[in-house]
């Protein structure tokens, strides 16, 4: 039996049997979903800023009574105190802010002014407030002109916008939001897996070296076989987890309608509380994405190649040090591309066809995450996929060469922590 395979089998079995493996496999998705939910809520509440009470100084004497927030986050209180008093009250924190509506506002003279300790900004709060005032004033203006009820309704009727994805196979009714979510989750999974499995490999290398088992092992197998066996064995473990999770994503996408509708309050969508799931989803413009099998195939391919590339490099680093802490500074240059690709994740999701997105998904060190996101969202041209895979595979082969040369010297070197320069020197040893 091939020795690389024996090492891989041992690494795989040893880890799959642990409680850690069972836990992370089963709990991973829960943690992930929880993580996204928390982030989602945190972002939403940060933008909306929660509930606020606004005191209104209404010089027109007719607007304030009609001001109301359909979402119920904003409460309006009418006051006839002078501006100086209101200013003090806002500064004291009694109100979130005060709103001055000048007398000629309905007739198009002057502008409404909102004073708060937070000033303007681009938050959805400003947007909401502007809409509320605009709608109220508009209604008053229309009433002043004695506009008939029919006209009124026509003006107020919503203008629905459907987003439709164009692909070679034809049009696809489905919201890009759904594809973006799936792509984002996949990208994030790859990110986590490259880091987590990569450091599992590194830790394994460091432990073997610290335990001094490694010298016995390399008297039976070549260091290269040991390195590859380790990387492949742990990779196989990762693949089991990933396949399980990818299955969950697939199932989750099919059941995504149910999940989304949990987060949507029918009242916000002008729908009755009894609205069905389909009605809710239609209202949000969300359609269950129709993901082809190729999305999952590429997910697995990029996961594997990304993992192989980075874990091989991490193994090389692990072999050079004796403690986890010593590895930190050496890891940074390798971590950079991973960090870059996760930093630009949002940008790639927003514009999967932009020059930046294409570039990131071609550059071998950053490609796994953005490419998976793009594959999930759009039809990536074949040449881009091919080039990206070719570059990534080539880089992996190069990484194996570099790492194995560092590894075979590193695992037997004890004592002073080597500098990057010394490590480079090892590569030239016979």
């Amino acid at each position: 039996m091939n020795k690389t395979f024996i090492v891989a089998k041992n690494e795989f079995m040893k880890r799959v049997k642990t409680r850690w493996f069972v836990f992370t496999t089963l709990l991973g998705p829960i943690v992930l979903v929880g993580f996204f939910t928390v982030i989602g809520f945190a972002t939403t509440s940060a933008i909306e800023g929660g509930e606020s009470t606004i005191v209104v100084l209404d010089q027109t004497e007719r607007i304030a009574g009609s001001l109301s927030d359909p979402e119920g986050d904003l409460t309006f209180t009418i006051s006839d105190a002078d501006e100086e008093t209101l200013r003090q009250q806002v500064l004291d924190g009694e109100y979130s802010g005060y709103l001055v509506l000048p007398a000629g506002l309905v007739d198009g003279e002057g502008s409404a002014r909102y004073y708060s300790t937070e000033g303007g900004g681009v938050s959805s709060f400003n947007f909401d407030l502007r809409n509320i005032i605009r709608n109220t004033v508009r209604t008053l203006r229309l009433e002043d002109q004695k506009v008939s009820n029919e006209v009124f309704e026509i003006i107020n009727a919503g203008v629905p916008l459907d987003t439709i994805k164009l692909s070679d196979e034809g049009e696809e009714q489905g919201s890009s939001a759904a594809y973006a979510i799936v792509g984002g989750i996949m990208g994030f999974l790859i990110y986590i897996s490259m880091l987590v499995y990569g450091s599992v490999v590194m830790q394994g290398v460091i432990q073997e070296k610290m335990n001094r088992v490694v010298e016995v092992i390399v008297s039976s197998v070549r260091p290269f076989q040991l390195l590859m066996g380790k990387v492949l064995g742990i990779g196989a473990m990762g693949l089991v987890q990933m396949t399980f999770w990818a299955g969950l994503i697939a199932a989750g996408t099919m059941g995504s309608g149910a999940i989304i509708s949990l987060f949507v309050d029918p009242a916000n969508m002008d729908l009755p509380d009894t609205a069905t799931q389909t009605e809710i989803l239609d209202a949000v413009g969300f359609q269950v994405p129709d993901l082809g099998p190729e999305v999952f195939v590429f997910f697995v391919i990029y996961f594997l190649l990304g993992y192989l590339l980075f874990s091989t490099l991490f193994a090389g680093i692990g072999s050079a040090v004796e403690q986890q802490q010593d590895a930190q500074s050496l890891m940074l240059p390798i971590m950079m591309p991973i960090i870059i690709s996760i930093v630009f994740l949002q940008a790639v999701i927003e514009a999967p066809n932009s020059g930046l997105s294409v570039a990131l998904s071609l550059i071998p060190f950053t490609s796994p995450i953005p490419m998976v996101v793009r594959v999930a969202m759009i039809d990536v041209p074949i040449w881009q996929l091919g080039l990206s895979l070719l570059l990534l595979t080539g880089t992996f082969v190069g990484a194996v060469w570099v790492s194995s040369r560092i590894y075979r010297v590193g695992i037997l070197s004890y004592g002073k922590k080597p500098s990057l320069r010394e490590i480079m020197k090892w590569m030239r040893y016979a």
């Binding site: 039996m1 073997e208 016995v216 037997l412």
Partner: protein
């Protein structure tokens, strides 16, 4: 025949010539003691023999073939710094090592059972290594080394950390393997063990061989130049002898001394000096130098006193 031949091997690290044109042979059915001070190049030599590293120049043959992945399978190496996987069970661990040596599973299982039983360790088979005492781990490591019945056995300080009973047990196994025609390389700093076990020795210092040959031959080469004396009374007679430069006192205790005769000093000079001072002499013997003496002398000659003992210059005077 499974002879190990090291032929003109050199290995350089950075600017240090770790091993310089070293040649020696180890015969089946004999134990070769590989000796040398720390940093002499022993580990480097062993690593090249085990094909962990490759020599810059020279050849290493085992059974007439160049060492490589194939010879690795019929070698067993117990390094000085050794360890086991902490969280693996003893049985699984031994099985893994056996598989890496290319041993079929069934055969490996039998061998594991046999050796664990022989070492009185059968109860540990499903224990994790970190539950075992250090001595127990030593035994497991030794089993891992000989499990696949290697033709070449390389043991670096195999008795370190073992109590006398277990050390004897190990020694019995080693001698048994020697009688079964295995080629054995034994590296140690414990000269009494070397003297007890080795048929041949090879002493390396600063990457070069300084002494090699059959142990008895080597001893003969140094001649009978050491006096062992047991006595009753004062040992003051040793001081003027040593001060005159006639002898060097190697070992000195209340009723015993080991004295090296320098510059062809006749042994009777020592006897006469002793007779004048001590009340009784219970033993006076002229012997070949012990291995420790040969080691010190040979290394000192090559390196000079200072290089050998850089920290304790004051004490040497």
């Amino acid at each position: 025949m499974h002879t190990l031949q090291v032929q003109g091997v050199s290995k350089q690290y950075e600017k240090v010539l770790a091993v310089n044109n070293v040649s020696f042979e180890a015969e089946p059915g004999r134990i070769l003691g590989l000796l040398g001070p720390n940093g002499a190049g022993k580990t480097t030599s062993i690593r090249m023999i085990t094909y962990i590293t490759i020599p810059d120049s020279g050849k290493i043959l085992f059974g007439g073939e160049k060492v490589g992945p194939k010879s690795q399978e019929i070698m067993g190496y117990l390094p000085e710094e050794r360890g086991l996987y902490k969280k693996m069970k003893v049985g699984e661990q031994l099985m893994y090592f056996a598989e890496l040596k290319g041993m079929p599973k069934k055969q490996a299982r039998e061998a594991i059972k046999y050796w664990l039983d022989r070492m009185g360790a059968l109860d540990w088979v499903s224990k994790e290594t970190n539950e075992l005492s250090k001595g127990m781990q030593q035994k497991i490591q030794f089993i891992a080394t000989i499990l696949h019945d290697p033709k070449l056995l390389i043991l670096d300080e195999p008795f370190g950390g073992l109590d006398p009973i277990n050390a004897d047990l190990l020694q019995d196994v080693i001698l048994e393997l020697k009688d079964a025609g295995r080629t054995i390389l034994f590296a140690s700093h414990r000269m009494e063990q070397v003297e007890q076990l080795c048929d041949d020795i090879c002493l390396i210092s600063k990457g070069e061989i300084v002494v090699k040959g059959a142990l008895s031959e080597v001893k003969k080469r140094y001649g009978k130049n050491t006096v062992l004396i047991d006595f009753e009374g004062s040992d003051a007679f040793l001081d003027p002898l040593e001060a005159s430069g006639a002898v060097r006192v190697n070992v000195r205790s209340t009723r015993h001394a080991e004295i090296r005769l320098l510059n062809d000093t006749p042994s009777k000079q020592v006897l006469q000096a002793a007779l004048q001072h001590v009340s009784d002499i219970t033993r006076f013997e002229l012997v070949e130098p012990p291995m420790r003496e040969i080691f010190v002398t040979a290394v000192t000659e090559q390196q000079g006193e200072q290089a050998l003992n850089p920290q304790s210059e004051g004490g040497a005077a």
